[in-house]
């Protein structure tokens, strides 16, 4: 009996660690994503804007022309342009490129999105032509007009203080999402797809035509999946700590509880999904249809608050959202177990329901 359980468990581990694909998606992929996105949004962004300058007779420009010729660096290839870069310690670099051209050309450039603003000058007054609905153009207007006025971008009366406290950077937002997304994928692909494949190979059918204990089979599958989930979590967490200094500010108990109940929910869902299908393609479709929308909607990579107001309440109760939001509040906001009690119970209870339903209609043959 004991040896049967051990054998089944050992085999789950062997299958997992011998599958390079599974290892990549579970361990390497989240790290690569966090590296790519983490660094992309950590460097202070360079603002780059282009303006067309339309000065018909060159001669009567008393503001723009002297500005271009004295303050900007001129380059003539591939065409004549002027460029000015303002570097602010806190704000980062702002580079503006001025392109002299005719009105007609400037209109075409605007339509193509190559420039965000057009400058003209009439009787000693600079005129700005742009679409006020476009925030990029508005930003260009504000910065160029102050440049032309000879002011600096940051006024002397104000001071910029970038937020550097824990839990407010993009990487802090991202890491909890990568953890929950990884757990969801790992459960759904590992359990659901694994079972469907075993059924399609007729391996399940062969295994239950022996005195094998079905409960052992299920138990070892969940045990091993929990171990993989925990390993994935630890690896990404250590990585995020070392490279980005992300750390769990809330209670470890709450952290463990939400990881366990979130994993449990997705395991239950996996069983339900895998309960009948014997066709790996159908299984593949099912799993993608569930994971893809949640990955996009549940605020893994960007906040779902940008979605239209009427869908936000729905998104908020998607399982992956509940899971991610709770984990985020524990890691970044220092929440404890009482703060996440509601999502914790929702995940555990629905997990239990899908789990029992899945086992009830489960087809071994």
């Amino acid at each position: 009996m004991k040896s049967q359980f051990n054998q089944l468990l050992v085999i789950q581990f062997k299958e997992f660690f011998r599958e390079p694909g599974a290892l990549f998606w579970s361990f390497i992929f989240p790290i690569l994503i966090s590296l790519a996105l983490g660094f992309a949004f950590t460097d202070k962004p360079v603002v780059f804007q282009r303006a067309a300058v339309v000065l018909p007779n060159n001669a009567d420009s008393i503001i723009i022309k002297p500005f271009l010729e004295k303050k900007c660096t001129q380059s003539i290839s591939p065409m004549l342009t002027y460029q000015l870069t303002i570097d602010n310690q806190h704000l980062g670099k702002t580079t503006t490129q001025f392109i002299p051209c005719t009105w007609k050309e400037s209109e075409i450039k605007m339509k193509r999105g190559e420039i965000s603003i057009i400058l003209t000058e009439e009787k000693g007054k600079v005129q700005f032509h742009f679409d006020p609905a476009n925030s990029g153009s508005r930003l260009a207007y504000i910065s160029i007009s102050s440049l032309l006025d000879g002011k600096s971008l940051v006024s002397d009366q104000s001071e910029i203080k970038p937020l550097e406290s824990k839990g407010t950077r993009y990487i802090d937002f991202l890491i909890p999402g990568l953890l929950t997304m990884g757990i969801m994928s790992s459960c759904l692909w590992g359990i659901s797809y694994g079972l469907i494949e075993k059924r399609s190979k007729k391996l399940l059918r062969r295994m239950v035509a022996t005195p094998m204990k079905k409960s052992f089979f299920m138990m070892t599958m969940f045990t091993s999946r929990y171990v993989f989930t925990i390993l994935e979590t630890i690896v990404l967490l250590i990585f995020a700590k070392i490279v980005f200094g992300v750390s769990v500010q809330g209670s470890w108990l709450a952290f463990a509880a939400i990881i366990i109940s979130g994993s449990f929910f997705f395991m239950g869902l996996s069983i339900l999904l895998a309960s009948r299908t014997a066709n790996p393609q159908v299984g593949n479709g099912f799993i993608s249809a569930i994971t893809m929308p949640m990955m996009l909607l549940s605020g893994i990579f960007f906040s779902y608050s940008n979605f239209p107001d009427f869908v936000v309440p729905i998104i908020r109760y998607l399982p992956l959202t509940l899971f991610t939001d709770s984990l985020r509040s524990i890691i970044n906001e220092g929440s404890g177990i009482m703060d996440v009690l509601v999502p914790l119970s929702i995940l555990s209870i629905t997990g239990l329901i899908t789990f029992t339903a899945g086992l009830k209609i489960y087809k071994w043959y």
Binding site: M1, S3, Q4, N6, Q7, L8, I11, K14, E15, R18, E19, K198, K201, K202, L203, R205, R206, M207, A209, T210, P211, M212, Y365
Partner: protein, 315 residues
């Protein structure tokens, strides 16, 4: 085990099984005695898999009764699982486990250990492949692994569903040899499905011919052939078909079949040596000319064609 050697180990009575419109089994009766090798011979779609899976307790009949060792599946699952060893049609084992690990896992289901795994590896001659991943095994090696798994707990009854389909003749021969020696050394009983008549003839004393969910005939090879009343076949090609004489009124000729395109003539005769001189004489007289003359004993294939008008190997 109080089970008697003189009682059938498998008793199937009037088994019916339908899948929507398809009648997979349409009133099948089957009895298997201990130490017998029985072949279920029939073309694709005959209902062989459905029948053996019902015997194995994997599928359940719509009506009819099935007993193994005098017991129903219901309530005796654990006991019966220990008595039968099965190999399903087309089971694929886990790719990234080795031969040995796969055997070890199945051994653990029966509470058996490494000693038995070693024995099995030697019985099915896979010692050299014990550390290879299943994904790297050839078709024959995979079938031997499946056979090894079915043997692992030393079952009284082996049920093998198309164990050699798709294998080359050498690999097939190897499996046959393993099965022959099992019968000699262990007195194992076996049910095997196949659509190769050579396999049924070579391995099994009893042959059950099934088609379209019905048993068409059963018995030993000799019984089946004597029941068909013809035993000998003469075949030749006619070179000039228009000159071929008429043989319909000859009492020696039981049946005559002509293939109009190839000119192949198949005659079922009661006694080749009596009839052959007469046949040659008549053909010489007619001057039609023949080639590729062959005389042979009737085969299961011939019987199947007689009964159904189709070949065993037709889909």
């Amino acid at each position: 085990m109080t089970y008697s050697q003189t009682q059938p180990i498998v008793q199937a009575v009037n088994i019916h099984k339908s899948f929507k419109e398809v009648k997979a089994l349409n009133g099948v009766d089957l009895e298997i005695m201990p130490s017998e090798f029985t072949a279920l011979l029939g073309p694709n779609g005959a209902g062989k898999t459905t029948l053996v899976e019902i015997i194995e307790g994997i599928q359940f009949p719509d009506t009819g009764e099935i007993k193994l060792f005098g017991k129903h599946w219901k309530g005796n699952k654990d006991e019966l699982h220990h008595q039968i060893g099965i190999s399903l049609q087309e089971t694929r084992f886990e790719d990234k486990l080795t031969t040995r690990e796969t055997l070890k896992m199945f051994a653990s289901f029966y509470g058996l250990n490494n000693t038995r795994v070693d024995e099995i590896l030697s019985i099915v001659n896979l010692q050299e492949k014990q550390r290879s991943y299943v994904v790297n095994l050839s078709g024959g090696q995979r079938q031997k692994l499946a056979l090894g798994i079915s043997l692992i707990h030393n079952p009284k009854l082996l049920i093998l569903d198309e164990p050699t389909t798709g294998l080359d003749p050498t690999a097939r021969r190897e499996i046959w040899d393993i099965l022959h020696s099992l019968q000699e050394t262990h007195g194992t009983s076996m049910i095997l499905t196949t659509h190769y008549m050579e396999e049924a003839e070579n391995l099994c004393k009893n042959i059950v011919i099934i088609d379209k969910g019905k048993v068409l005939a059963k018995g030993t090879l000799e019984e089946l052939i004597s029941a068909s009343k013809t035993s000998e076949i003469i075949q030749f090609k006619v070179l000039n078909k228009s000159l071929f004489p008429d043989f319909t009124n000859y009492s020696d000729v039981k049946q005559i079949e002509k293939d109009e395109i190839s000119g192949l003539v198949t005659m079922q005769v009661s006694n080749t040596s009596d009839f052959l001189p007469e046949l040659i004489g008549k053909i010489n007289l007619a001057g039609c000319g023949i080639a590729e003359l062959r005389c042979r004993y009737v085969t299961l294939d011939d019987l199947f064609i007689q009964m159904t008008g189709r070949k065993l190997t037709d889909a």
